[in-house]
C-alpha cells in the first residue's frame, strides 16, 4: 500500500475559444472558465499508476476559492479517493511560499503520505516553485521532471526516471518523497491485471466525481491551524513589480484578400504570387 497526495490548481482555460482578454490585454477572469491545470492531470495519472500497482489511497488537495470544487471534480475524473480544498479569504493573494505553507499544513492535518505528487508548473503562474517549496517545508526529498516511477514497497524506496535536458537519469529515493511529473511522464501497464484494475478504478472514480460531496472537504485557515502571518498576501514575500503585456508584432506588409472560387480568382492569385516573387 502506497498513499499519495496530489496537489492540483484551477487555472484559466487558455484554450482557443474559451479564454477571454480585456481591452488592456489582461485576462478577463470573469469570462474565462477555470479548469484543472493540464500538468496536474499528468500528476494524477502518476498517482493512479501507483494505486493500480500497489493499492493505497490517492488524496487530491488544492487551495483556492470554494468554486474550485469543480476543479477537484475534474481531478477526481482522472483519479482521487477523496478531495480537500483549503479555502479562506485570508489565503487570497498568496505567492508560492504562502501557498506551499498552506498546502503543507493541510497535508499534515490529513496525514502525511508516502508520496506527494505535483504537476510541472501551472498554466497561469508558470513559476514551478510551489512543489519544491512544499517539499522543503515537509522535509521530503524531491525528484523533479519524472517520466516514470517504480515503487519498491519492500525496501520502501522509489526508482524514478527523470528527464534532465536530453538525458534520462535514474534516481533512487527513500520513501516518503516528493515527485514532480514531467509533461512527458507516461504510465506503463504491461500486465492485463493492472489494465483491468485501471478500468475498474477509472469507473469508480468517475462515479465519485459525479457525486463529489461524500468525498469532499473544505477547510478554512482556522480549521487548518494556520499562522495568519504566513498565509495570503501577508505571508507572501514576493513583490510583483510590474506585468508587461507582450506587444503585438507590427504588421510587416499589407495583405490583399482575393475571394472567389473560379479560375479567374485562381489566375489572380497566381499573378500576385508571380509578382511577389519577381519583387
Amino acid at each position: 500500500m502506497v498513499d499519495c497526495i496530489v496537489t492540483v490548481k484551477g487555472v484559466p482555460d487558455f484554450r482557443e475559444g474559451k479564454v477571454h482578454f480585456k481591452e488592456d490585454n489582461t485576462l478577463n477572469r470573469g469570462e474565462t472558465p477555470t479548469v484543472l491545470n493540464p500538468s496536474d492531470r499528468i500528476a494524477l495519472m502518476a498517482a493512479l499508476e501507483i494505486k493500480v500497482k500497489h493499492g493505497g489511497k490517492v488524496t487530491v488537495v488544492s487551495m483556492g476559492p470554494l468554486g474550485y470544487k469543480t476543479v477537484l471534480q475534474e481531478a477526481l475524473e482522472v483519479y482521487g479517493d477523496d478531495a480537500y480544498l483549503f479555502s479562506d479569504r485570508q489565503m487570497g493573494g498568496a505567492d508560492t511560499l504562502a501557498t506551499a505553507y498552506t498546502l503543507g499544513m493541510g497535508m499534515k492535518k490529513i496525514g502525511l503520505p508516502d508520496i506527494v505528487i505535483s504537476g510541472f508548473k501551472t498554466a497561469d503562474g508558470e513559476t514551478g516553485q510551489t512543489g519544491p517549496q512544499t517539499a522543503w517545508l515537509l522535509d521530503y526529498p524531491i525528484i523533479t521532471h519524472v517520466i516514470s516511477i517504480e515503487v519498491d514497497t519492500g525496501n520502501r524506496k522509489v526508482l524514478a526516471r527523470r528527464l534532465a535536458g536530453e538525458d534520462i537519469e535514474e534516481i533512487e529515493s527513500p520513501l516518503p518523497c516528493y515527485i514532480i511529473t514531467d509533461p512527458n511522464f507516461e504510465a506503463s501497464y504491461r500486465s492485463a491485471t493492472h489494465r483491468l484494475r485501471f478500468l475498474k478504478l477509472q469507473e469508480e472514480t468517475r462515479a465519485r466525481a459525479a457525486t463529489i460531496d461524500s468525498v469532499f472537504k473544505a477547510w478554512n485557515a482556522t480549521e487548518l491551524g494556520l499562522d495568519p502571518k504566513k498565509i495570503g498576501l501577508k505571508g507572501s514575500p514576493t513583490i510583483v513589480n510590474k506585468v508587461e503585456a507582450i506587444p503585438t508584432a507590427p504588421r510587416e506588409r499589407t495583405a490583399k484578400v482575393i475571394s472567389g472560387k473560379d479560375d479567374q480568382a485562381l489566375a489572380e492569385v497566381a499573378k500576385q504570387i508571380a509578382q511577389a516573387i519577381r519583387g
Binding site: 501497464y189 504491461r190 500486465s191 492485463a192 491485471t193 489494465r195 483491468l196 478500468l199 475498474k200
Partner: protein
C-alpha cells in the same frame, strides 16, 4: 507470468459470444481487442441471422436482445433486383431469406459490438476477467512445441488454458499458429460499403416499412461490368447500408476499382429512386470476407487454441444471401462449450477436438463441409448440363419462371457455381426477358471521391511503425494493389497504393509501386495483391470505424 483461464483474441461478434458463454459459466476470461473499443475495427454488410436449425444463436445468450441490444431493423422482406442496363426484374426472395431463419436483424458493428463488449466485460469482471482494448496479439506463446498462451505487443506474455482466435478475416493469430495462410485471391470476397444517412420517416416512406420492420435489397447483373459478385442495400433505423461484394480474383481480373462498382450501383435508377434524391454519405468501409467453401478450417484448432468466425474462414453464401455473423456466434458458443466439457471431463487438452466435432455436427459443419454440395456443384458446372440449364432458363418462358423460382431454392442457391452464368448471364437474361425499364425519378446521387472518403474516416496513425511493408515494389509484383485496394484509386492523391515513375540517379526512368499506409482500412486485400509483409497495426492505432 500472468495467467488467465481463457484468453479470447478479438472483441468481434464471435469472440464476444465465446467470451460471454465462458464468463457466465464461471470461467475467468480475458478478451483482448486491438481497437480502441469493441467494433472499431469491424465491418458488416450486414444482417445477423438466427438459424431455426440451431439453438446457438444470439438469443441463446441474450433472450431479449431485440429489445436491449442496439440492433437496427428486423428484416422482414428481401428482394433480388436483376439488372440489364436500365431494365430491371425484381424478384421477391423473401422465401430464400426466411429459409431456416428464426429471425434476422440489420445492424452496424460500431454500436452493436460496443454494447456486446459492455455485457461481456460486466459478466467477465465477476470472475476476475474483462475486456481490454488497445492490445494487439501478435501470436501464440509456445512452450515445448505447444501453444500455452499469447504474445502481445502492449502487454507481457499471458498464459491461458484456453485461447480463442477470433481476430477476424485478417487474423494474425491463426496465421502465426500455422492454422492457415493468406489463401489465394479466389478464396476471398472483398466487400465495400457506405453508410448513408436517411431519416426514419423517409425510410418508412421509401421502403414501405413501419415500426421495427426493414427490408433487404440485393442486386445482380451487368451493372458491375462483369465482375463476379453483387450488391446490397439494407435498411437500418435512420441509415442505409449500401455495398458490393465481389470475388477478389474477379476484381483483380476485371481491373476495375471496387468503389466504382459501388458508385455505379448507387447511381443506378433503381437505387437512386430508393434514395429519393437525397444522399448523405456517413462512412465508407471495406473488408475481406472468406469464401467459406474454400477457407473454412475443418479442424480449426491447434492444442488449446480454437479458431472461430472469420478467423476460421466461416462464411456461408446461399446465392445472394451471405451469412457470416451467425456462424461466428454459433462457433463461439460451441468453442466455449467444448472447453467447458473438456474441463468437466478433466481432459483439458480435448477442448479442440470437442469443438471440431461439435462444429461438424452443427449447421456450420453441414453447410460448410458438406461434400454433397461439391458433387452437385460439379454436375451444375459441367458444360453440357450448364448449357441445357442456360438454354432452358433463357429461351422458354417456363425456364424463366423456373429460374426465378430457383432463386428461392436454398439448395440450388447454395450450389450455384461461382461463374459468369450465375452472376451475370442469368440475371441479365431475366432482366432482358421479363424486366421493365426503370427511369430515374430522383436526382442522381453525388457519391464521394476516394479522397473525400478517406478524409471522412478517423485514423490514429502510427508514423514510423508502418504495419505493411512492400517487399517488392515492381509493378509486376505489386501493381495489382493499386486497382484492388479499396482506398486507392487512379484519381486519388491520398490513397494507399500508387504507381509512380521517377528518375533514378543515373537518369533512368523507373516505374514502381509506392505505398502509404496512413489511409489503410486494414482489409487485407494487398496482402494477396502485392508483395508485402502484412500484419495489423498495434493496439489503438490505424482506422477507427464509427458505424462499421
Amino acid at each position: 507470468m500472468e495467467k488467465f483461464e481463457a484468453v479470447v483474441v478479438g472483441a468481434g461478434i464471435a469472440g464476444l459470444a465465446a467470451a460471454y458463454e465462458l464468463a457466465r459459466n464461471g470461467v475467468q476470461v480475458l478478451v483482448l481487442e486491438r481497437g480502441k473499443s469493441p467494433g472499431q475495427k469491424n465491418v458488416t454488410g450486414g444482417i445477423l441471422y438466427g438459424q431455426s436449425d440451431s439453438p446457438y444463436n444470439l438469443d441463446y445468450l441474450f433472450p431479449d436482445f431485440a429489445k436491449t441490444a442496439p440492433v437496427e431493423r428486423r428484416i422482414t422482406k428481401s428482394f433480388m433486383h436483376n439488372i440489364a442496363g436500365d431494365q430491371v426484374k425484381t424478384v421477391d426472395t423473401t422465401p430464400l431469406h426466411e429459409y431456416k431463419t428464426k429471425w434476422a436483424y440489420s445492424l452496424l458493428r460500431g454500436a452493436f459490438d460496443r454494447w456486446f463488449g459492455d455485457q461481456v466485460h460486466k459478466a467477465a469482471e465477476k470472475n476476475g476477467g474483462g475486456v481490454l482494448c488497445n492490445v494487439r496479439v501478435k501470436g501464440p506463446l509456445m512452450e515445448n512445441g505447444r501453444i500455452v498462451g499469447v504474445l502481445c505487443e502492449e502487454l507481457d506474455e499471458i498464459r491461458a488454458d484456453l485461447i480463442i482466435a477470433a481476430d477476424g478475416a485478417t487474423s494474425d493469430l491463426t496465421r502465426a499458429a500455422g492454422l492457415r495462410g493468406w489463401g489465394r485471391p479466389d478464396t476471398w470476397f472483398q466487400g465495400v460499403k457506405v453508410v448513408v444517412k436517411m431519416p426514419t420517416a423517409d425510410i418508412e416512406k421509401q421502403f414501405g416499412v413501419k415500426g421495427d420492420e426493414g427490408t433487404a435489397h440485393l442486386f445482380a447483373g451487368d451493372v458491375f461490368g462483369g465482375t463476379r459478385g453483387g450488391g446490397f442495400l439494407y435498411t437500418n433505423k435512420d441509415t442505409l447500408s449500401i455495398g458490393t461484394v465481389f470475388h477478389l480474383d474477379s476484381v483483380a481480373a476485371k481491373k476495375t476499382e471496387p468503389h466504382r462498382h459501388l458508385d455505379r450501383l448507387i447511381k443506378h435508377p433503381i437505387v437512386a429512386n430508393m434514395l429519393g434524391g437525397k444522399y448523405e454519405e456517413l462512412e465508407y468501409s471495406a473488408k475481406l470476407i472468406p469464401d467459406g467453401k474454400k477457407m473454412a478450417l475443418r479442424s480449426p484448432y491447434r492444442d488449446n487454441l480454437l479458431a472461430i468466425g472469420d478467423a476460421a474462414g466461416q462464411m456461408k453464401a446461399a446465392g445472394p444471401i451471405i451469412k457470416g455473423m451467425n456462424l461466428g456466434v454459433t462457433s463461439g458458443i460451441l468453442a466455449a462449450q467444448a472447453y467447458l466439457k473438456a474441463k468437466k471431463d478433466n481432459r483439458l487438452n480435448e477442448a479442440g477436438s470437442n469443438y471440431a466435432s461439435a462444429l461438424q455436427a452443427s449447421y456450420v459443419g453441414r453447410e460448410l463441409f458438406n461434400s454433397g454440395g461439391g458433387f452437385m456443384k460439379g454436375i451444375f458446372s459441367f458444360g453440357p448440363t450448364k448449357a441445357i440449364a442456360e438454354w432452358g432458363a433463357v429461351n422458354t418462358g417456363m425456364g424463366m419462371n423456373r429460374a426465378i423460382a430457383g432463386m428461392n431454392d436454398y439448395a440450388l442457391a447454395s450450389i450455384a457455381p461461382d461463374d459468369d452464368f450465375t452472376y451475370l448471364t442469368l440475371p441479365v437474361r431475366i432482366a432482358q426477358k421479363m424486366g421493365q425499364k426503370v427511369s430515374a425519378q430522383a436526382a442522381t446521387p453525388k457519391t464521394r471521391t476516394t479522397d473525400e472518403r478517406i478524409a471522412a474516416l478517423t485514423y490514429d496513425t502510427d508514423i514510423g511503425r508502418e504495419h505493411i511493408q512492400l517487399t517488392d515494389s515492381s509493378v509486376n509484383a505489386s501493381g495489382r494493389a493499386v486497382m484492388t485496394c479499396p482506398v486507392s484509386a487512379s484519381d486519388s492523391s491520398r490513397g494507399c497504393y500508387r504507381i509512380e515513375t521517377v528518375v533514378d540517379p543515373s537518369g533512368k526512368e523507373v516505374t514502381k509501386v509506392v505505398l502509404d499506409t496512413q489511409p489503410c482500412v486494414e482489409c487485407g486485400t494487398c496482402a494477396l495483391m502485392a508483395a508485402t509483409t502484412w500484419h495489423t497495426p498495434r493496439g489503438g492505432k490505424g482506422v477507427g470505424y464509427q458505424y462499421g
